[in-house]
Every structure is written in structure tokens, then in C-alpha cells.
Point group: C2
Chain length 303, copies 2
């Protein structure tokens, strides 16, 4: 099965205690696409500016990401600059230049309207809705968002939730969105709005998946080196949905495996800047860390 992702392609300038990446390839759709590409064919819908060269396309092409939906508009590519302090959990945004992204109206290439799995990465929920309507053949729709949209377009988000099967949020966002501090009740209130599963990303604390059968919780992999957390959430989503796609969108057992695969991809993502680590990944490395997760979390029944 294929996945269609709509989101941002950007140049990031990131400072962390471990170094700096200047105008490196980033954006939610980029990180998602590269991560998912290890599992399933990926179609990318986004916009870049005239400064986005063939060289910049190369990493995505190497991963066989279909770029027929990557439009080029007059102007400069979206830029984000941020820094992380010792607490690598939260980025401080230093600069955002929307550039061509300000006028982004996603065009779905011919033949992509029935892509089975659709991922609406973090963009304006009104655009997410537009894409959702256009990709009418999707069997499964997943969406992400961020604090900015929760605050500025709550009604559009509420509407989106009624049509989304899998909703991905982080710890702070789910509390902001539901006004509920308790995570279980916050997830229940989102599940009541439509999604079959709510995936709460907790950064260095792992992930919890809530669905009608209960919860699945997985700690993050304890890494000795975290160089740059940028893109971790998108790499998670890419692994999560890429795996589900490769399995034909199967049931709960696969939802759990998918959350582990997502965590594996995110754990590699943060080991270096931009796509530096992920592009070097091999299948044995992915399988090895999956088994590491199993060793990390398994315990025996009480005697």
C-alpha cells in the first residue's frame, strides 16, 4: 500500500548543546516521508521555493519518495530556526519564515486521490480538511497538529477530528486541546469525537496509544546521545504509519507493533542532525533496535 503525506518541506537552522545544523533539509513531510519509506511507498505533497535545488531533492529520491506532488512556487522555501537547551524536550523557535508556505494550496496529482493511507502532517487544519476531501479514496486517515492551530483554529480541528482514524498529538497538546489534565480522560474525550486511536507522543518519555480496547504504553529508548530532537515526532509518525501500511492496516496487534516501529525510527532520528542518521539506516539496524525495545520492556509474570 502507498501513503500520501501532506506537510512542510523546509530548511531548518537548529542549535543544540551538541552542535548546529544550518539550513539543513527539514519539515514535517520530509521527516515523515524518509522514515515511512523504509516500510512502504510514499507520495509527498508539499511546496518549495525556487531555491530548492535538485541536490535538495536527492535524499528524498534516494529513498524512492514520489515527488510528483512537490510543487515549486515563486519565492523562497519555508525556513525555521530554533534551539534546544539542556532540556532537549522543548525547542525555542528563533525565527519562522513561511515564504512560499504562506500561500500553500495542496494539489493532489492525478491518480493519487485513492491513496489508501493519508497522513495529514502538521499544517493549517483547514488545509488538512481540503486534502482529506480530495483524497476521497483513503481507507485510513491520520493527522497531526500543533499548539498554534489548537489555539487559533479550534473549530477547524474539531471538524477534522470527526473524520480522522488515527490522531497523533503530544502530551502538552492533548491537554491544551481537551482542557483535561488527566491523560486517560483527555484521550477518552478525543476518542469520543471520532478517531479509532489516539497516539500521545511524550518525547523522552515514550508514547501511549489509546483505543477502544485500552492503552498501550512504550517507554522511549534510553539513548546515550541525543544530538537533535527535531523531526522525532514526524519520524515516529512515518514509522508508525509506514508499518501499518506495509501490513494492510491490520488490527490492534499491529497498532502496538506500529508504535514500536515508530519509536525505533524516532530513536534513530534524534541521534544526529537533519536526516544524517536516518538516511544511513539499514534494515538490520531497524530490526535490532526493535529487539532492543523488547529487551528493554519485557518482564515475566509473577510466580
Amino acid at each position: 500500500m502507498s501513503i500520501l503525506v501532506v506537510g512542510s518541506v523546509a530548511f531548518d537552522t537548529v542549535r543544540t548543546p551538541f552542535g548546529e545544523g544550518r539550513e539543513v533539509l527539514g519539515g514535517s513531510a520530509t521527516h515523515f516521508a524518509v522514515s515511512a519509506s523504509f516500510w512502504t511507498p510514499v507520495r509527498l505533497v508539499a511546496v518549495v521555493g525556487e531555491d530548492f535545488t535538485d541536490e535538495h531533492r536527492e535524499p528524498l529520491r534516494l529513498r524512492s519518495v514520489d515527488l510528483a506532488g512537490l510543487a515549486t512556487a515563486k519565492g523562497r522555501t519555508f525556513r525555521w530556526a530554533g534551539e534546544y537547551g539542556d532540556d532537549l524536550n522543548t525547542a525555542r523557535t528563533l525565527d519562522t519564515q513561511l515564504n512560499v508556505f504562506a500561500e500553500f494550496r495542496p494539489e493532489i496529482p492525478h491518480g493519487w486521490h485513492d491513496t489508501p493511507l493519508l497522513f495529514l502532517a502538521n499544517i493549517d487544519p483547514e488545509l488538512q480538511w481540503e486534502v482529506l476531501e480530495k483524497v476521497h479514496g483513503a481507507k485510513l486517515v491520520a493527522a497531526d497538529t500543533m499548539n498554534y492551530w489548537i489555539a487559533s483554529k479550534p473549530a477547524a480541528l474539531e471538524k477534522l477530528l470527526t473524520r480522522v482514524d488515527l490522531f497523533l498529538v503530544n502530551d502538552a497538546e492533548i491537554r491544551q486541546l481537551t482542557g483535561e489534565r488527566n491523560l486517560v480522560r483527555a484521550a477518552e474525550s478525543l476518542l469520543a469525537k471520532g478517531p479509532a486511536a489516539v497516539v500521545v507522543k511524550r518525547g523522552e518519555h515514550g508514547v501511549v496509544v489509546f483505543d477502544r480496547n485500552g492503552a498501550f504504553a512504550l517507554p522511549a529508548y534510553p539513548l546515550r546521545v541525543v544530538k537533535d530532537p527535531t523531526g522525532a515526532g514526524d519520524a515516529f509518525a512515518g514509522g508508525f504509519l509506514g508499518y501499518l501500511s506495509s501490513r494492510g492496516l491490520d488490527g490492534e496487534r499491529d497498532l502496538r507493533r506500529a508504535a514500536v516501529v515508530g519509536s525505533v525510527m524516532a530513536s534513530y532520528q534524534v541521534e544526529d542532525f537533519s536526516l544524517d542518521r536516518v538516511l544511513k539506516l539499514t534494515e538490520p539496524e531497524i530490526r535490532e533496535r526493535y529487539e532492543d525495545f523488547s529487551r528493554l520492556t519485557r518482564f515475566d509474570p509473577l510466580p
Copy 2:
């Protein structure tokens, strides 16, 4: 096997968004003892004031905690008052009255010097050392601490670490103690000082156990209701060490089970104020939540 715990017995006044407990029975040794008592015989060493009545002793007696080491001194019992906001992870201390605890010099009753398992709950590390020296027959020594001692008596803590087998700390404390922000490297630096295992308590994010074989990570149980987090860390320690004690201090497999048992006890602890929930616990309930933890965390290998 028996456990000897030295720590505080206190009257707590606690306010949370879910209610208030006024002058309720608390203290690290109390919460530890009650929790551990579900698994193993417990001997308690602490001090109370003349205001500590037989009625106050009753819950501990009901759990068959041996109170031969509970001294009564002239004056009032240690009092702590604190409150939790919406973020139930951190308490704000409103008042601390050390009272008889200020002059506490732990006396070890006759016949207790060779108790196989010794838990040094959060008290002055110099007193912890004194008790460690006196209970010379202990086969396994575990210790807890807090930010106050890390800041005020780092040398005494460093010394203690060379003689402790299991060291329990929380997230913030291990970073403060080691000056290392990365959890893996922080744990490695503590392991290098002596302990065979370092247990990092992360509140609502669960627990990670580091030893020479690697790490075991367990998420916290997602609860719909958390009324009062006071005593969660001590209930965890009680379950953790109580279980190890019941198993004769066995190897890594039991260390993992012990961390799950600790998490089970902590999850019940926070469901109500003081000892209100824990005192009502039954063995089937404990086993049921252990199985809930298994359901919460298990996943299959990749196909």
C-alpha cells in the same frame, strides 16, 4: 526474609485539586512499610512525638509492621504540609516542622542488626550511614534521597553510594546529583560509584532500572483518577524491595518483576489520600494490576 526501614513517620497536611487530607498519617517509612508489608515482614525504625497515639499506630499494626524500633521522644511528631496543582508531578511545600525528627538518632533494636534487607529512606545521609554501619548483617542495602541532601551533603551521599546496592532516585535528583542531563550517562556515572542497580523514578512517566546488564523501562499505569501523589515513591520502594525480599534477593529477572510490583503499589497509593487506598488492598487486586501492566506493555515481535 525481613526488611528494616529507617525513615520518617509524619503527619501530613496535603491539598490537591481533588481534596485535602489534614494531619493524616504519612512519612517515608510509613508508606514504605505498609507497601512492603504485602510482601514481607517489615521492621520500622523511626521517631514520633508524644502526640502519636495508639490509634495512629493502628494501621501499621494491622499490616503487622514490627514497631519495636519506633521511638517516642518528648515533643511533637514531624509535620509536613504541601499542595499539588494541576500538575500532580511536583509538590509545593507549604510548611515543614521537624519537631522530634530534628534530634532523631536511630536506635536499632536488639536482634535487628542482621536484618537481611535494609532500606535507608530519605533522611540525612549521615544518619543513613550510621544505620548502615549498625545493621552490619544486611545482605542488601537500598537507599533513597532527595534534592535537599544532594545540595547540602554531597560528600556524605557520595560516601553512602559506595556501600549501597540499590539506589533509588527521581529524574530531577539523578541529574542534580551527577550534573549529567542525559539519563543513561547519569545512571552510568552512579553505577560506577558502587550500586549494582540504579532505579530512576519518573512519576507519571514510570520507572527505569539501570544495572550492568542494561536497562529495564516501565511506563506508569495510566490512571483515570490520581487524588494524591504523596508517598508514591515510598510505596514504589516498598513494593520493589518487599518483592525482592520475598524472593530471597534473586537476579535480574526478579529485579524487573520487582519494578513492576513497585509500580503496582505506587499506582494504588496515588488513588487516594494517605493510606486510604493501600490499606484496603487485596492480593487479587495486586495480581490483577500486575497483569494490567503486562497487557499495557506487551507487543509481538516483527513478523
